[in-house]
């Protein structure tokens, strides 16, 4: 499994952005209608947050290869992104695109539930 992590991408609150996982670059493509725009809000290195980050990265790699843009925000470094998105609980994963948007709270350990929420059929994992 190979993923590239690009730091300091230009985002509304660059200082809050912990990391960006952009699987599109694997295929050198532009963001399309099928691109999954995800935001993960974590709290420093709290165990739940590390767990959530690990879990979503695995899901992205396994199910959204080439069509996923994941941005991780650390609320401990900057709370404004959380405030803007109405996020009060950590970890929180937001699916902003494709619509309808989805909010998932928790460490994302329940993979089946996360896949269902993200409307990703298990079968796509081949």
């Amino acid at each position: 499994m190979k993923t590239s992590i690009v730091k300091h991408r230009i985002e509304p609150n660059p200082c809050a952005v912990d990391s960006v996982l952009d699987t599109k670059q694997e295929q050198g493509g532009q963001a399309t209608d099928r691109t999954y725009v995800l935001r993960l809000f974590v709290a420093g290195d709290k165990p739940q947050s590390l767990e959530a980050k690990k879990n979503i990265e695995q899901i992205c790699a396994a199910y959204l290869q080439g069509c996923c843009e994941l941005t991780v925000f650390d609320v401990c470094k900057d709370f404004t992104a959380a405030l803007d998105h109405g996020v009060l609980l950590t970890p929180t994963l937001l699916l902003l695109s494709p619509l309808p948007s989805v909010t998932i709270i928790g460490n994302l350990s329940d993979t089946e539930k996360v896949l269902g929420a993200l409307r990703l059929p298990k079968a796509s994992h081949e």
Partner: protein, 493 residues
Amino acid sequence: MMEASAGKTTNKALPQAIALPKVSTQIKGLDEILDGGIPAGGTTLVWGAAGCGKSILGLEFLYRGALAGDPGILVVFEERAQAVRQHALTLGWDLAPLEQAGKLFVLDGVIDPATILAGDFDLQALLAIIAGRSQAIGAKRIVIDAVDVLTRLYRDPWREQSEIYTLHRWLADREMTTMLTMKVLHYQTPLPGYEFLDFMADCVIKLDQRSNNQVSTRRLQVIKYRGSSFGRNEYPYIIADDGIHLLPVSSVVLTQQAPGDVVSSGSAQLDAMLEGGYKRGTSVLVAGAPGTGKTTIVSTFAQAACERGEKTLFLAFEESAQAIIANMLSPGIDLRPALQAGTLRFLTALPEAMGAEDHLFAALREVAAFQPRLVIADALSALMRMGTEQAAFEYSMRLVVACKERGITCLFTNQLAGAAAENSFAGVGISSLVDSVILLRFAESGGMLHWTLLIRKVRGAAHSAQCHEFRITNRGLELLGVYTGSHDGYPHV
């Protein structure tokens, strides 16, 4: 938390007594009950059933605090921030300028019901936002409205408890003066699983709303206040058009003014029986069976006061102002010039129209605005219909006390339903509250119906002990001399 045995301020024997630092709640009457306010840097829990005004109490604390220059944060989980701003406007509170001035921050914490739970989580983002915003605006006070809506997401009572404790400690570490509100069911205790909140909080305030004889009343009670004395009774409160008002009975200190000079009742003959008239600033009860002329006598007093240029407030519970004015024309009492000149003002309301607290609040507001020298309440017996005997008694008592503090003369009528009722008002003695009692009765003697007037009591002054016969003519009250007959069988219903 300071577990000061200094709580009892009367205990002078404790040398290290340190007063607990407190923050004013900004709510009229509540600080007296809390002996100054809620604990500074501590957690106050406010619980009550739906509709009893928890959110208004929290919002009023922040709004008035912000107006006074103390920034605050409001976190709402049940209502959108925009709805909170709208509701605030209905109470005349415009939050927008305070938000723009950095005196208030409203955090919209409504969780989308479509949110999916997938694993464990914590409140770190909430804490980070509170920390960031409170630092930015310098807020030392926070209200978290319906905190249980958030923590219920855990669906685990133990987890919920530990997260609320975490929140409580985190806020306490930052010396935030915190108010948490919490729903209860059935006006009783916190929801099952939330009893720990009462132990956790430094101060616990219970709000409830109940109905007595179809009239709704609201009560506030302080259940607990760590390290402080507080008023332990249930206190009636109302939600008026500008916020919450408490009317604490037992915090009323008897600072009544001494009775003033003697003035005429409006009837020279009655003045003679009263050894000159009645004293200003005292309270006079005119009691009698229906049809004995109670309203005529108080209207006589009112007309005389208005002719002296003294403002008179007439609280009418049974008749409209127009009806009273029209009825009084037949005994020759014309109140219209006084009404037109603005020296006489009526406040009329059916007793059932609202709870006793609302009635009292309306009366006291009018007393404060109009500043009368004479207040008439006709009739106290109708107040029973405000709900309970107790409510009616409290209304009368607080009106008397409020008037005495201002040196205002009080004149009440009371309809008696039988001989046994002569000494009592609605089962609760009111005659001990008033300074003078004028008793009007019927008597049948020699095949004739007689009306008699007896001065039962005048506190601190001489008065006639004789029972006088009287009648009401087209020139008003006319005393006919001492009545020597019997009152057997009268008054009756």
